[in-house]
Amino acid sequence: MSKINKTLEIRTSPHIVRGLSTDDIMRNVVWALLPVAGFAVYTFGLTALVMLSVATLSCVLSEHILCRLNGRESTIGDWSITITGLLYGLTLPPGLPLWMVAVGGFIAVGLGKFLFGGLGYNVFNPALVGRAFLQAAFPVAMTTWHPAFADGRFFSLDGATLTVPFMEPVYTAVTGATPLAAMKFAQQPTAAYDLVFGFTSGSAGETSALFILAGGAYLAVRNMLNWRIPAAIFATVALLSGILHAIDPQHYAGPMFMLFSGGLMLGAVFMATDMVATPLTNRGVIIYGVLIAVLTVMIRYWGGLPEGVMYAILFANAASRHIDRLVQPRVYGTLKQAKRGS
Amino acid sequence: MNQIDLKQLTAPPNSWHMLRTLAGVGIFCSLLIVATYQATLPVITTKKLEKLQEAVFNVLPGAASKANFRLTPDGRFEPFEGTPKGETLVYAGYDRQGKLVGIALEAYGQGFQDVLHIIYGYSPEKQAVVGIQVLESKETPGLGDKIEKDPAFLANFEALDVSLSGDGQIQNAITAVKKGEKQQPYEIECITGATISSKAITAILQKSTGEFIPMLMKNLATFEK
């Protein structure tokens, strides 16, 4: 951190320094993500492995090149960009053409992180910025899903993976529908068991709720992740969908389905908890989590798209500075009324 | 110079002066607009007519000339010439021998973003829609606007069955199906990624054919030359 941030920091006491650095936290996050990535490779085979590698590499390379272009020291050593890259890869459909993966990786780092000033200054979660750009630029490719547990998946690539840059992908394999799309467009619910263990189609890293929760729990126990964010999201989603499901079970899927389908798990545990783009206070993060949950439920039920976690998180990222202002703690020694003036 | 400016600044506004300026500029501007309108009107009218003619020939393959017909209030058709003023018009297309090829109809309906305006050709001989062209649309570029040029989608309308049953109504209503699932001649295959726009076209055609084709078939003799 001190390499980048050369400004003098003035803080109130206590001045206790904890022996925890950016690298430490980031390395732990990588450990927490590895099982998720591993399961993605197990589910989707070689296609996912290649896609995840390209996603991570494109982010790391972009960071390195952009740092150098700007005359700064390269910051790839602190692992943070590796996580961004890995997370970014986990949000993509496994069969996405590699050239699109690389374009999105560059956008994620350039637009999502670098233009705002690099590590510690990003307003939005960079991985989601990259994904949102791809979703807007290539909507068809981003919603074509590689089937899960296909035969011979460890030895063959999806036909679309190696598409020549700037060319339209041609899909050879039969494509699978995600549980959310099946629900929204065909009213077909998926069994809860399949959802929890991840025996479904979808983005590379979003299928297995179990591994995501395990990774999140590991980080939360080590105090490297604010557990209030995912807790607030899950509680609100469960509550809202529970109420709506009770009113009209035909149209609104139940809480179990809403919690374990789509990118909610991955988003709530690993995306919404981005340390930079979240509010600072504990009260703030709870408001932030509730906001994400409400938006997600609204987009999923009433929006034109089957999945809304990505947009919900990006929106809440933008709101987090304002949430901070809303719940600013009173400075010790000042009166309550005096706060209004600031 | 400075003196005058100062005086002008402090003097109360002269109403007559202001009125004179506004009126003068107003008259000049209106003259300019009228002159341009008069000069460009003939060109614009011919271009619009040419465009419509082109569209009629486009949706009625084999047509070489066209005649306009007007829908009368009692549900019949009569020849019509001149500039239309709110009438419902249909366009009959004839081949070189003067034989009726088909009839082109305009239809409107809600698309993804705004009203879609299309023209389609109906062949009484084949009892089918034989061509379609989008005249106006604000569909999403790159996705929804594929309905205008996607060859696979337009192929749906080369022979879309709208034959009538015994009671003079359309036998099978036009329906939309997913890509690759077309089995019946009255089904339209949607475009992947432009389902809403494809379904909008289907709905427009379904409504318009259901309304007009029974009427056209009853009055077919009117159109024969």
Partner: protein
């Protein structure tokens, strides 16, 4: 503003009035004015040029008229008069475009009429034409208009290449090009605009640094 009122208007014809709009005071990249058409209609090169030229026409004509009437128009009703003049030329240009090509008219849609509210035009009428000679106002309008066209073209070309794989309607790629849908949508306008601003500011900074370095070494100051 108050100072401007007492300033003697420049009477000599100066080519600088023409050149400044192209680059130094470019209405889009420097003044960041008239963003609505810049972001909305630049999804292809042809649209960008047509929009740019239409705006240039309105800008030049309104500048000429405003400048020649500048001593007659009382200042209390000047904005109303300017708007009247601008709206007239916009209507004229709308008919002309319709006469030239119906397709182009359809592609530009409501944005032709919206030239009326393009702040570049009213801005030039108020800030320049109302205080300067006819010749200079003409040059200013032409320069600003062409600068605007240039900026629109910069955006239009990039968006057309990425968004449709063509340039001025001519295909650049073999069949099966994957179009970047976002580039044709207004969102792509924001991305492209941001990228161009980044590029031009970077260019300007670099030139400034070079000039600074040159003047330092030239005067021998360390």
């Amino acid at each position: 503003m108050a100072n401007d009122l007492f300033k003697m208007p420049e009477t000599a014809v100066s080519t600088d009035e023409f050149i400044k709009g192209l680059w130094r005071e470019n209405p889009v990249f420097v003044q960041v004015l008239g963003m609505c058409p810049v972001l909305a209609v630049t999804n292809s090169g042809i649209n960008a040029i047509a929009m740019g030229l239409a705006t240039t026409f309105v800008l030049v004509m309104s500048n000429i008229l405003v400048s020649s009437l500048r001593k007659v128009i009382p200042k209390q009703v000047r904005i109303a008069t300017y708007i009247l003049i601008i709206a007239t030329f916009v209507t004229v240009v709308e008919y002309l475009i319709q006469a030239i090509s119906l397709d182009l008219h359809k592609a530009l849609g409501a944005f032709i009429s919206l030239i009326v509210v393009n702040c570049v035009i009213l801005g030039r009428a108020e800030a320049f034409a109302s205080k300067n000679t006819l010749a200079n106002s003409f040059l200013d309008g032409l320069g600003m208009g062409l600068g605007f066209t240039f900026a629109l073209l910069c955006l239009g070309v990039v968006r057309e290449i990425l968004g449709s794989g063509t340039i001025f309607g001519i295909g650049l790629f073999p069949d099966g090009f994957q179009s970047w849908v976002v580039m044709i949508l207004p969102g792509g306008g924001f991305f492209t605009m941001g990228a161009w601003l980044l590029f031009f500011n970077w260019l300007k900074e670099r030139n400034k640094k070079r000039e600074a370095a040159l003047s330092e070494s030239g005067t021998g100051v360390k």
